[in-house]
């Protein structure tokens, strides 16, 4: 064990994944403490700039969670998320940030257990990647 505890930022949409996170809480599903949730109305409102900013300034991993495709409260918002976030990850890869530090997934309001799983798996994955190298080049 390196003792490395990654800091992770999660964008959750108000209607599905934030509610799914709430449900995980209601059901007392235990998970790592590393993930800090920011509520947005729709996953499609997450600007690539937020992901880039977070990772270039030393956040170890960024999660974007939305409604399942077809379930978006705003009908087609998450269709954009589905293209935008993987593209952002690809762009980050070109400047030397491991694209595995960005993860997009879908969690419905009924999937407290999936939220727990996604969080647990992502924390484990980022722990495996080690600290974000950008941490050392703060500007």
């Amino acid at each position: 064990m390196t003792g490395f505890r990654p800091t992770i930022l999660a964008f959750c949409c108000n209607w599905c994944s934030y509610a799914g996170a709430d449900l995980a809480g209601v059901n007392r599903l235990q998970m790592p403490t590393n993930v800090n949730v920011v509520r947005v109305m729709c996953s499609a409102s997450v600007k690539p700039e937020y992901v880039i900013k977070a990772l270039s300034q030393g956040i170890d991993g960024v999660l974007v969670l939305g409604c399942h495709i077809g379930d978006c409260h705003y009908m087609t918002g998450n269709h954009r998320t589905a293209r935008r976030i993987p593209l952002t990850a690809k762009v980050l890869e070109t400047v030397g940030i491991d694209s595995r530090r960005v993860k997009l997934d879908w969690v419905s309001a009924a999937e407290g257990d999936k939220f727990q799983q996604v969080i647990t798996d992502f924390v484990e994955e980022v722990e495996g990647l080690g600290p974000n190298p950008s941490k050392e080049v703060r500007f």
């Binding site: 934030y18 956040i59 918002g77």
Partner: protein, 565 residues
Amino acid sequence: MTSRIGVFICHCGHNIASTVDVEDVVEYAKGLPSVVYAGHNLYSCSQEGLSAIKESIKKNELNRVVVAACTPRTHEPLFRRACEQAGINKYLFEFVNIREHCSWIHTKEKEEATKKAKKLVAMGVAKAALLEPQEEGESGVVPKAVVIGAGLSGLSAAAALLNQGIETYIVEKEASVGGILRDIAVIGPDDADAQELLGSLTKIIEESPKANLHLSSRVTKLKGFVGNFELTIEGGGKEETVQAGAVIVATGGVEHRPEGEYGFGKLKGVITQLELERLLGSGEVGARRVVMINCVGSRQPGREYCSRVCCNASLKNAVRILNINPDAAITIIHRDIMSCGTAAEELYREASDRGVRFVRYGLDQRPEVSAEGEQLVVEVFDETLDEKIELESDLVVLATPIVSPEDSSETGTLLKVPRDKYGFFLEAHVKLRPIEFATDGVFVCGSARWPVSARECIWQGQAAAAKASIPISEGKVVIEAITAEVNSEKCVACGNCALACPYEAIEIVDTESGRAARVNEAQCKGCGTCVAACHNDAIQQKGFSSRQLGAMIDALIRATAEVAR
């Protein structure tokens, strides 16, 4: 205005305080930028807790409030109201969730949970400092409604609207009203006259000067938002554009036709339950031996749901055949009898008492129907007897489920409302908003949502009408101030936002600073999709601006370093 932030950390009894060191978080919050007061409450949402917040706002001249407690999804309106009562614009309130997202999911890691709570509070405070007061918009409401579908639920909805004096457009794709009800003589379980009911509803519509009935017509276009929809109705080679404040979807369901199953379509004398209804209505049932097979095409892989109305239809029609011919031999082959409710259960008992035979079958051993000359033979494995039995029959009646009409996908796309995997429409919330779609101003009733009985069609139709009449009678709708706004100085009128908007709420217009995007506030639903589509950071969502979210990211980085010390 310099930010003066007050932070209130909630114990939520033991819910938060048994995991998170609340006092420690309060001490930490006191040192955060712009925080002039930090305190804690046993229950922030109690009368006492809310009073403490309101007093503190006055005493400490707070102009921003952060509450770290449970989830904004349930409690935000409460705290926003408290802020308003203390004279602060309710959009200057920020909620931090340290219960569902912290104490409850880290019960065994007190130290780490406390650190996390500090980070979350730091992020909330950073956002709060940049919050701006907002004004909620209002928009007018066209005092008219549209009901799509004129089956029993649609007619019930339309009649209820018309009775309130609301001008109503009724759009029916078929040449006459009534839907499935047209084929039904009596409605179970108390044998109400279906045609009399249909007649009385039709009369209301025919006699009302405010009813606009469009038969053989369809809604082909829908634009707008609650209070101000614009629909195009096409029918008879004509096209009409109408305005409405609310839309009710009552497109119903259709009978599943089990082509090829149990000899349906091939063997004479194999009919569906709805066909039997028609025969009974015209008094043409002479059959002495009748076998009914339930759950044909439902409660099986691919169509798992129970259609709910078919068991009762079988029971009702079995008794009706017995009323015509008391010597008739009737067997109902079923998978389970779903006769919920007092009256239906009584009907089940009556059928049983009067000699209707009930045979239970399983999915792995389905009945088989064959013909021997004029006579039909049904072979079935009786689970109770544990052996195969043969039933000779003059008539085999298949109870098939109500399924979603094929064109429901078009309706769904047109109205931008979701459907489940069977094609039925999905309401906003099963319990809390059962008659509404998540799209404001659009309502659903009857079998468009799920197979329902005649009684349920009526009450859901009336419920939808009552809901639809709320914005119409209020005369205005409030728009939550989380809409997008354009900085026309920065905007280069590329149109990406307009393309991204799922609600067609953005258009490119001429402004003082040249061509730029403009958001139609009343049409904007506050999803923020346009914000992420903008390459120039020229469009912002109120309450979720890029500065605010950026500040949260900075705060997380800073707080992580601070709590690690």
